[in-house]
C-alpha cells in the first residue's frame, strides 16, 4: 500500500515538475516556432503548433530591416569595452582595499558599496546632461564610460584577493617583484574563477541592456542589437510577429545556448551577488 502511494505521489510530482519547466521554457519554444511560420499561419486561430512550411525567409527580412552588422559590432564593442574598462579599474582598487591599510580606506570602500545599490535608471537624466556638455551623446563612449567602475566587480575581487595567503606575497616581495607586478601576475591569475564569473555577469548584462542605449543614442551607427530588434515592432501595416520573433531569436538564441552549456557557471555568476 505504502509503495503504491509513493509511486503515485512520485508521478504527480513529475507531472508538476514538467509543468513548471514548460511554463518557463515553452514561451521560448513558441518564439522559435513562430519565427518559422508564414504570415497567414501566424494569424490563424486557433494557432497551429508546428510550422506548416519552415520559413527561413523571416530571418533574412529581420536581418535586412536595418544595419544589423553595425548593431552587432556596436554591441560587442560596448559590452566588451565595458568589461575591459571595469577590469582595468577594479583590479587595482580591489587590490588596495584588500591588501593595504590606509587612512580613509573604510570611507572609500563604503562609498563604493553605496554605488553598488543605486541603479543607473535613477540618475540617467543628469548623466545625459553631462554627456551632452562633453559632446559625447550619440557616441559609443556615452554607452561605455558610465559603467567603467563596477562596484560589484571591486567587491568580488577584493574578497578573492583577501583569500590569497600572505606567504605567496611575501615570497614575491623577497624576489623583489614590484607591487604592480605582484598585482597583475600573482593576484589576478589566482582570482581567475572570480574574474570569469564577473566577466560573464557583466557581458550578459550589458549585452542585454536596452535602457541606456535608448537614452544615449539616436542614430543607427551607434545603436546596439536590442535597440535594432525592438525597432522591428514599429514596422508599418500590422505586426509581423513571425519576423519580430525571428529577430528576437537572433538576440536570444546565442545567450540561451551558452546558458544551457555553461549553466552552473552562469547561475553562480548571477547568484553570487547575494553573498
Amino acid at each position: 500500500m505504502m509503495q503504491v502511494g509513493r509511486t503515485a505521489w512520485k508521478t504527480v510530482e513529475w507531472v508538476l515538475l514538467a509543468a513548471v519547466g514548460l511554463v518557463f521554457l515553452f514561451p521560448f519554444l513558441w518564439m522559435f516556432l513562430t519565427a518559422f511560420k508564414t504570415m497567414p499561419e501566424v494569424y490563424q486561430f486557433p494557432p497551429t503548433w508546428w510550422p506548416e512550411s519552415w520559413q527561413f525567409e523571416n530571418f533574412r527580412i529581420a536581418w535586412s530591416s536595418g544595419p544589423f552588422v553595425t548593431y552587432v559590432m556596436n554591441s560587442i564593442l560596448v559590452a566588451g569595452g565595458i568589461l575591459i574598462l571595469q577590469f582595468l579599474i577594479a583590479v587595482p582598487a580591489a587590490y588596495a582595499f584588500a591588501r593595504y591599510r590606509f587612512p580613509g580606506r573604510n570611507l572609500l570602500f563604503g562609498l563604493s558599496l553605496i554605488a553598488l545599490m543605486i541603479p543607473s535608471q535613477v540618475i540617467f537624466l543628469p548623466v545625459y546632461v553631462e554627456m551632452s556638455h562633453w559632446g559625447l551623446v550619440n557616441t559609443l563612449w556615452s554607452l561605455i564610460l558610465p559603467f567603467g567602475a563596477s562596484a560589484f566587480g571591486i567587491f568580488l575581487l577584493r574578497q578573492s584577493f583577501m583569500q590569497v595567503p600572505d606567504e605567496v606575497i611575501e615570497a614575491a616581495r623577497l624576489d623583489s617583484a614590484s607591487e604592480w607586478k605582484i598585482m597583475w601576475t600573482i593576484m589576478v591569475p589566482m582570482a581567475k574563477p572570480v574574474l570569469v564569473t564577473f566577466g560573464l555577469f557583466s557581458f550578459i548584462y550589458h549585452w542585454n541592456d536596452y535602457f541606456w542605449p535608448l537614452i544615449m543614442t539616436n542614430s543607427d551607427s551607434v545603436r546596439t542589437l536590442p535597440i535594432g530588434i525592438s525597432m522591428l515592432k514599429a514596422a508599418e501595416g500590422g505586426k509581423q510577429w513571425n519576423v519580430i520573433m525571428a529577430g528576437n531569436l537572433i538576440l536570444v538564441l546565442p545567450i540561451l545556448v551558452v546558458f544551457f552549456i555553461a549553466q552552473r557557471h552562469i547561475i553562480s555568476a548571477f547568484v553570487y551577488q547575494s553573498k
Partner: protein, 317 residues
C-alpha cells in the same frame, strides 16, 4: 635598482620614524601614496558618473529647464515638486509604482520561496527545472517584452487560445486599463522568480545540517521546522531579496516602453517611464529631475535601511 618593498604595515611604522627627521624619503612617500593611486581611477569614475550626477539632479530639480536649451535655466525653488504633487497624472504614477512593486515583490518572493523549498533537492531533474526557471533571467527584457506581447495578443495570442481550449473566455491583457497592470506584473514575476529561487536555494544550503537533525530527533513536525528553523535562518536572505527586488521594481522601464507606453490612459505609467517621457519627449527637465529626486530618495532610503540592518546582523553574529 628595485628595492625590496616592506609589508605595508611595516612601512607605516618606519614612516613615523623618518617623519621626525623632516623630509620623508621619496620612496616611502610613494609607498604611502600607492593605495590612493590604485583606488583613484575607480573613485574618479564613481564621482563622474555617480556622486556628481546625484548632486547635479538635485540641483537641476530647483530649475525650470529643457534639454533643448541648457543655457536658459530659471530658478523655481521647490516649484517643480509642488507642481508634481498637484498633478493627478503624477500621483497616479506614484500609486502605480507602489502597487506594481508591492504585488511583484510580495508575490514574487512568496512563489520563489515555495519553489525553492520544492526544488532544493539533489536529483538531476530538480537541477534541470531550476535551470529552466532561471533561464528568463539571462534573456534581454526587450525580447521578453515582445514575446509576451505576442503571447498576450488578444485575437491571435497563444494565451487566449489556451483559455479557449479549456473553455474559459479570452482576456484583454494589455489593452484594458483593468488588466494591463496585472499583465505587466505577470511578465516581471515570470522573469524574476528564477533568480530569487536560486538565491533561496543557496541560502537553504548554507543552513547547518545538524539543526535539522536535532529537530528530527525531537519529532518536530515539518511546518514547525519550517517556521522555527528555515524561515528564521533565511531572514537575511529574505531581507536581501526584499531590498533587491524592490529597488529593481522601482526601475521598471523596458516592459512599459515596449508593451504599453504607460497606457491605456496612464494605467501602467511608472516612475522611470514618467521621467523618461517628461525629460526626453516633452523636454520638461524640471518635472523630470524632480521626479528623479523623488525616486532617488525612495531608493536611497531602502539602501540606507539595507546597510543599517546588515550591520546589525554582522554584530549579532
Amino acid at each position: 635598482m628595485r628595492k625590496a618593498v616592506a609589508a605595508p604595515e611595516l612601512a607605516g611604522t618606519s614612516n613615523q620614524v623618518t617623519q621626525k627627521l623632516e623630509g620623508v624619503p621619496a620612496v616611502d612617500r610613494m609607498e604611502r601614496l600607492r593605495p590612493y593611486l590604485y583606488v583613484a581611477p575607480a573613485m574618479l569614475f564613481f564621482t563622474l558618473f555617480f556622486f556628481f550626477p546625484i548632486a547635479y539632479v538635485i540641483y537641476l530639480s530647483f530649475f525650470d529647464w529643457s534639454l533643448l536649451n541648457l543655457e536658459e535655466m530659471e530658478w523655481v525653488g521647490l516649484g517643480n515638486f509642488t507642481a508634481l504633487m498637484m498633478e493627478e497624472d503624477f500621483l497616479q504614477v506614484l500609486g502605480n509604482t507602489l502597487v506594481y512593486t508591492a504585488v511583484t515583490v510580495g508575490l514574487g518572493i512568496f512563489l520563489s520561496f515555495m519553489l525553492a523549498l520544492w526544488l532544493n533537492r539533489k536529483a538531476k531533474v530538480y537541477g534541470i527545472v531550476q535551470a529552466a526557471v532561471f533561464s528568463p533571467h539571462i534573456v534581454s527584457l526587450v525580447s521578453i517584452a515582445m514575446l509576451w506581447m505576442w503571447l498576450m495578443d488578444p485575437q491571435y495570442g497563444l494565451l487566449n487560445a489556451i483559455l479557449e481550449m479549456v473553455g474559459l473566455p479570452g482576456y484583454t491583457w494589455l489593452s484594458d486599463t483593468k488588466s494591463a497592470m496585472i499583465s505587466l506584473i505577470l511578465v516581471s514575476i515570470w522573469k524574476g522568480v528564477g533568480y530569487n529561487t536560486l538565491v533561496f536555494i543557496a541560502g537553504m544550503q548554507s543552513i547547518p545540517k545538524d539543526i535539522y537533525e536535532a529537530a528530527e530527533l525531537d519529532h518536530s513536525p515539518w511546518w514547525r521546522t519550517l517556521t522555527r528553523i528555515t524561515v528564521p535562518m533565511l531572514s537575511p536572505t529574505i531581507f536581501f531579496l526584499l531590498v533587491i527586488n524592490t529597488v529593481s521594481s522601482f526601475q521598471v522601464f523596458d516592459t512599459i516602453y515596449i508593451m504599453t507606453q504607460g497606457g491605456p490612459v496612464n494605467s501602467t505609467n511608472m516612475l522611470v517611464f514618467y521621467i523618461y517621457e517628461q525629460g526626453m519627449d516633452f523636454y520638461n527637465g524640471g518635472a523630470a529631475s524632480a521626479a528623479s529626486v523623488i525616486l532617488l530618495a525612495m531608493v536611497g532610503l531602502l539602501t540606507w535601511l539595507h546597510f543599517r540592518l546588515m550591520e546589525k546582523r554582522v554584530h549579532y553574529r
